[in-house]
């Protein structure tokens, strides 16, 4: 997905700020299909991973549908990009917060979500779940801790 101009080496990394680490939260609020927000949010996450910031993703409202299992887009002629979420661990994006109330309001549980894992380099590369279901209250605390919030 990345084009030449997206590489941090090729642009923008100058200016002396590249070594700053900030807490980035990408807030995903919309269903995966119907609008392009979910796909283009994921593109920012993948490019942003190259900047070695402290990255978290939040899924709330219809955004929780982005992580559901067995997505099948054949009928609408749109690419099914859900496998990309499973690759996020390889980009060191390992914190995917899902709001419990948003799941419940849509009749979903954690069992309806894809299994997304990462290998923990600080724990002998043990495979651990990336998805963390949190309450609305906890989500507010997570948001309050961030330096930069990108809302999609």
């Amino acid at each position: 997905m990345a084009s030449e101009a997206d590489k941090p080496e090729a642009e923008g990394a100058e200016g002396g700020g590249a070594e700053v680490t900030k807490k980035f939260l990408y807030v995903n609020r919309k269903a995966p299909y119907g609008t392009i927000y979910a796909l283009e949010s994921l593109e920012v996450v993948l490019i942003g991973a190259a900047f070695e910031q402290d990255v978290s993703l939040a899924f709330l409202d219809d955004g929780v549908y982005q992580l559901t299992k067995n997505q099948d887009t054949k009928g609408i002629g749109v690419k099914n990009f859900s496998p990309t979420y499973k690759a996020l661990g390889d980009y060191e994006v390992t914190k995917l917060y899902v709001e419990k109330e948003s799941l419940a309001e849509r009749g979903l549980t954690e069992a309806d979500l894809m299994e997304i894992t990462y290998e923990d380099e600080d724990d002998d590369w043990a495979e651990k779940p990336s998805i963390r279901v949190v309450s609305r209250e906890e989500m507010a605390e997570i948001m309050a801790e961030q330096d930069v919030i990108l809302s999609f």
Partner: protein, 130 residues
């Protein structure tokens, strides 16, 4: 304060671009720095010079271009989002074999890294969208 501005919707359908413009203008008038304005999703459509709104309406693209000229603002259109939606500069038009470019004065096309960089560099990143 150093601001980064993100515009996620196109002109006219949504208020987002107008609000971002008013915010940016007000911030500059108050003496703040605006490090960059980044256009993403349909926001890239703010950067075509081919819009021709009725004469008694505001000209959103021209507003941005004028503000950029006046304050030396960095208006960046995301290349991936722009290519999907037909926003091209001269180099890109040539590379893609198109007969024209349509990028408006004061805008430039670059990568998503410019958005992340704005997040890192700025005191506040302010998002205007739906």
């Amino acid at each position: 304060m150093k601001f980064g501005i993100v515009v996620n919707e196109g002109p006219y359908t949504h208020q987002a671009s107008d609000s971002a413009y008013q915010f940016t203008k007000a911030a500059l008038e108050k003496g703040h720095e605006v490090f960059r304005v980044f256009f993403y999703h349909d926001g890239v459509n703010n950067g075509t010079r081919l819009t021709v709104p009725p004469q008694d309406e505001r000209h959103i693209q021209r507003n941005w271009s004028s503000l950029a000229e006046e304050h030396n603002l960095d208006l960046v259109v995301c290349i991936a989002a722009a290519q999907r939606r037909g926003i091209l500069d001269a180099d890109e038009a040539k590379r893609q074999g198109k007969d024209t470019d349509n990028i408006a004065p004061g805008f430039r096309i670059s990568g998503l890294g410019q958005l992340i960089e704005a997040g890192i560099q700025c005191d506040r990143l302010v998002i205007f969208g739906d």
